[in-house]
Symmetry: C2
Subunit: 369 residues, 2 copies
């Protein structure tokens, strides 16, 4: 491998793929980043065997070839390179790579190239094209709700379902749930129901997002491939039947409260301050168009009052404040409706003026004082 | 205590004094912040018994009085308050304080006021007035060199010496040293030699810095008091004889190298990347107006070359790269001179065009290859 590139191109490539570098793996090779020069492209790849990311950048290739270098050395070196032409040349016999810039050079010892896992882009039978910015926004609105318990893997994923010409994304950790419907062009004939690891979508959403660009989704029976102009991200899928989450969404609420999102965020965050560590329970009471958020703790008492628009019966319910605040922040909407169906039923949050999205939070049981 | 204030004034006061709140102390009261209303001022105070900070802000005082509240609750509450008039009222019988804003309120349980240590401003026999921005800059340039070993307390402090109408600041951890001379008006009659804890000056430098304002320094036999318009910071002094550091500064260098500060920072940082954790040794060689920084490690080799202006003999010396980079960054000068007196003598760094400052770094002994 022998090539000339720029700091900016190299940095874009390594920063994009390093999200897939294995942090702690018994296989040292997975802490490496693979560089492969071919035709007029430099392909940069990393994988932790769950996710693989490949990024291609244009480069002046003098000789084809490849090398695998420890991510921590090559990434930090590139970050600190001066803005001059960068000459990269591998020595297959010594197993190292020389990075030359101005009159200086750094030689980094590499890993054996043939130990690096193959990165084969699957030829799937189903492909979709979705605007990057729309998919990124939808992912953000559901992925926060995935679970972290590896003993219940299905909840660590996001359901992606397509039928009747509509795409739906859903995630739940059984305490809270987020559900987004999207209208996507040209999916009338498609039928999909897959579960994508939350981590995959989190990493994807850091890569995509440019307006007027499309991300292509390719599916096989056990893998998903996301492709943009210069990046490919492969991930395993999570197997198993996703739970029937629709039935937990209350259909006939007893009351509905409309309020300014940021007012409730501020009140909940202030009230939660007094809670002892490990607890985050706030009480909410709605009556006569007034919502009161309260906490009664050893450290003191919080009483937060705000005007709301109330329909239906008075409400008294307790929530986990941190969960509630996270959900409110994700909605991205100035006003929200919260629907209640009793003190032990979930609260349903819907952004005002935006059909197709809801999030849901189970209440916390508290003793009456 | 009963008063009306604003979020901004309260936040300024608690953020200023919370630097002195004890992080871990067997005395719970020291995790508190004291509020004292008197005349038309609110005095806010915190202390960990080593440092004490008091900040005063104008407030509408309805009733004099005081209260001590846990820093973590009151600071975070104030940070999250809305921008409306804030009503603060203490209940001396219940020992709590009610903070009211709009239609909401938070009641925080306090500490017994009389357990809080007295904050008595010492009436010193020596006072100095120094421009805030000049003193802050001087502190920044020396305080990084203090030691952290509490078994050698004298090295954890900064020497402040005044004689012959000149102020000098010096700090050393015995591996490196920084020395700043300052010309201050009206100190011809003053003779001082004190050692101020590095922590005190670090905290002070976060408080002061406004141009055209003066910080007043008041000295007693064992305390120093810094006073600005609205803040007072008291600290103990470190007792003991400060070492005679001047004799370690080589007076007749064998060679002198002039170079661009940021070039050497970049080269040293890149070369240091390859060093194994815990080591940070780089080799420097100067010959024929070329400086080479090199590292030879298991991970690879770095060779960084830059043009310099050299006077005197060739040089070969090894330094701790992290120490060197920290010193170079602090100089704040585009160009520097480094003076060498042999491979086992300290290197002396002097910013070009700025008399009155130097820093010094002891070399690392390395085996010749």
């Amino acid at each position: 491998m022998n090539l000339i590139s720029s700091k900016d191109d190299l940095l874009f490539a390594v920063l994009t793929v390093q999200r897939a570098v294995a942090q702690k793996s018994p296989l040292p090779i997975l802490s490496g980043i693979k560089f492969k020069a071919e035709a007029d492209q430099l392909f940069v790849t990393a994988t932790d065997l769950e996710i693989g990311i490949q990024c291609s950048v244009k480069a002046e290739i003098i000789e084809d070839g490849s090398a695998v270098l420890p991510s921590k050395y090559i990434t930090e070196l590139i970050r600190r390179l001066p803005d001059v032409p960068i000459f990269i040349k591998s020595d297959p016999f010594k197993g190292n790579v020389t990075v030359k810039y101005s009159h200086s050079e750094t030689i980094i010892n590499g890993f054996p190239v043939d130990e690096f896992p193959n990165f084969i882009l699957p030829a799937g039978n189903i492909t979709l094209n979705i605007p990057e910015d729309i998919f990124k926004e939808a992912v953000k609105k559901v992925v926060f709700a995935v679970g972290t318990d590896e003993n219940r893997p299905i909840f660590t994923g996001v359901l992606l379902e397509i039928n009747d010409g509509q795409m739906q994304l859903a995630a739940t950790d059984t305490h809270r749930l987020a559900w987004q419907k999207l209208n996507i062009a040209n999916i009338d004939e498609t039928e999909i129901k897959i579960v994508i690891p939350g981590k995959t979508l989190n990493e994807l959403s850091k890569i995509i997002g440019r307006p007027e660009k499309f991300v292509k989704i390719t599916l096989t029976s056990n893998q998903v491939l996301f492709t943009t102009e210069d990046v490919s991200l492969i991930s395993r899928l999570i197997s198993g039947e996703y739970p029937h989450f629709r039935q937990v969404i209350p259909q006939e609420p007893l009351s509905r409260v409309r309020l300014k999102t940021k007012d409730l965020i501020a009140a909940a965050e202030r009230a939660d301050l007094l809670n002892p560590e490990g607890s985050s329970v706030i009480k909410m009471q709605v009556q006569d168009n007034v919502l009161v958020v309260s906490v009664n703790a050893v450290a003191g008492r919080a009483y937060e009052e705000m005007s709301v628009f109330q329909e239906g019966e008075p409400v008294q319910v307790a929530f986990n404040a941190r969960y509630l605040v996270e959900m409110l922040k994700v909605t991205g909407s100035e006003e929200i409706d919260i629907e209640f169906t009793g003190p032990l039923s979930p609260g349903v949050i819907k952004p005002v003026g935006e059909a197709g999205y809801l999030s849901l939070l189970l209440p916390v049981r508290i003793r009456e004082e």
